[in-house]
Amino acid sequence: MYEILRTSIISVIVKLVLLELTREEESALKGEQGEIMQMAYRILVATGEATEAEKLIPIDWAHLSGVNYNTIGDAGEEFLSSISKNTRVKVKTTLNPMGFDIDNVSNYNLDNNFISKQLSIKNSYETMGVTPSFSCIPYEIFDIPKKGTQVAFAESNAAIHANSYDNLKTNKESAFSALASAITGKSPYSSLRKEDSPNLTIRMKVKNPNELTYGMLGFFAGKVGDTSVNISGLGEMDKRQCKAMCGGMGTSGTCAKFLFGDGNSDCEKIDFDEKEMQNVHDELNTAEKGDLITLGSPQLGLEEISDLVGKLKGRSFKKRCMVFCPRTVKEQARKIGYTNELERAGCEILSDCCTCLTPLISKDDVDAVTTNSIKGAFYLKNSNGVNVNLKSLSQIVEDETR
């Protein structure tokens, strides 16, 4: 009798908790390895239970979001300052952009409170042993580990790029699950880390696509896709176009992987045609022209900077043009002489920050922004509250320079 009762109680408990932890993980969750480890494991367990993972697995690299004071605010700043006192990351950990470029922050009307809080956040991450990369394109500025390596990327475009193009495996992590992974070196074994079984194939039907088209395709895919999608009908794509597609997808939904091909015959098929493209365009394009131009969301890599320099030969912008890239790229570009060329053409070059969620563009000063980024457009519109004029890079160069 007691035996039966005990078995039934145990079976109820098993049903409540799917995730199985090792003895060491259990001990951390109980607080036997300190409060911060306990908190980190609570985050991993909550995330794992919510995404139906059955265990935690080791990861080799974490990429953190939650860096920009504009997004994490005082609560985030205080939290990071408090945990950084006695926490160090366990694996290679890199960092998303922050709110400004310290080299030229005085040119933008940011108040001192913003600057000091942002520097405190920067300092907290550095204290924890995080590489201060301030970049949303870790896949372009760091060496890619070997095929199939498990990582934990919180930046959505980077997670999608890692899964789709770099043969890495990551969940679409939140700022907190990625931070917990950095501290513990582990992550829940959720569906994106296992077999791919998309139930949907998107057929690309738009002719002569440019990076804006691919951004809109990604945005559409993120809306209709669940965890991963097949995508067919793509031709050769350059880096700018691949990044645009990943950025678009990360903005609109929870989907975090493209598989290239038709998929199984039982997959549902959806066309991305001129009509669907127009719908996305109408949702995000709210102005005929912009007061300033932004390039880089995701940030530009060296290849895109070099291409931009080529396009701007003998031309200059008629209005302000902000160009966002990682610091390492800005330094390389300076050595090659690209930054001189871009500044001559009227560009403001900013490292460590990004179009996306920038505090450097305020609706008090600007009505509308021209950009070729779908991701940038979404956040400029919804977070900065400015109108957006969408144009491809070649169109921007044609219309906005002389």
Partner: protein, 128 residues
């Protein structure tokens, strides 16, 4: 039923049929819902057992949950119908018990009821 964050507490239910966007909807100092369009407008979630369908909006909302806990204005526990990562990681960060329940259980929970929560018990939610 699914346990996302473990814990033990008892208190009075405050229920909302609307999802909650913690970033920008909750006053961090007082725990009062400040969104005029929200069903719980002007009500304080402090020390309640907050029952709502799910969290929505930016994942940064998790830091808001951490803030209200630091300011002693957080709920004692949360019960949702759907798991979302903002509330899950927010409650984990702040150590607030979080339970996900099915539709039937969700419907049966009403504002004003006194309940106890013990996630280690075979019957984690008990009406008092």
């Amino acid at each position: 039923m699914k346990i996302l964050v473990q814990g033990k507490t008892e208190g009075i239910i405050l229920k909302s049929q609307n999802p909650i966007n913690f970033l920008g909807t909750v006053d961090k100092k007082t725990g009062i819902i400040s969104d005029k369009n929200h069903e719980l407008f002007d009500k304080s979630i402090k020390n309640s057992i907050l029952v709502f369908p799910s969290g929505v909006g930016s994942s940064v909302g998790a830091y808001t949950i951490y803030s209200i806990k630091s300011n002693n204005t957080a709920p004692l526990a949360m019960i949702c119908h759907k798991a979302d990562l903002t509330v899950a990681t927010g409650c984990a960060l702040a150590n607030i018990p979080l339970v996900i329940v099915d539709n039937e259980k969700f419907t049966s929970l009403k504002t004003g009821q006194k309940i106890s929560i013990d996630t280690k018990s075979p019957n984690p939610i008990i009406l008092l």
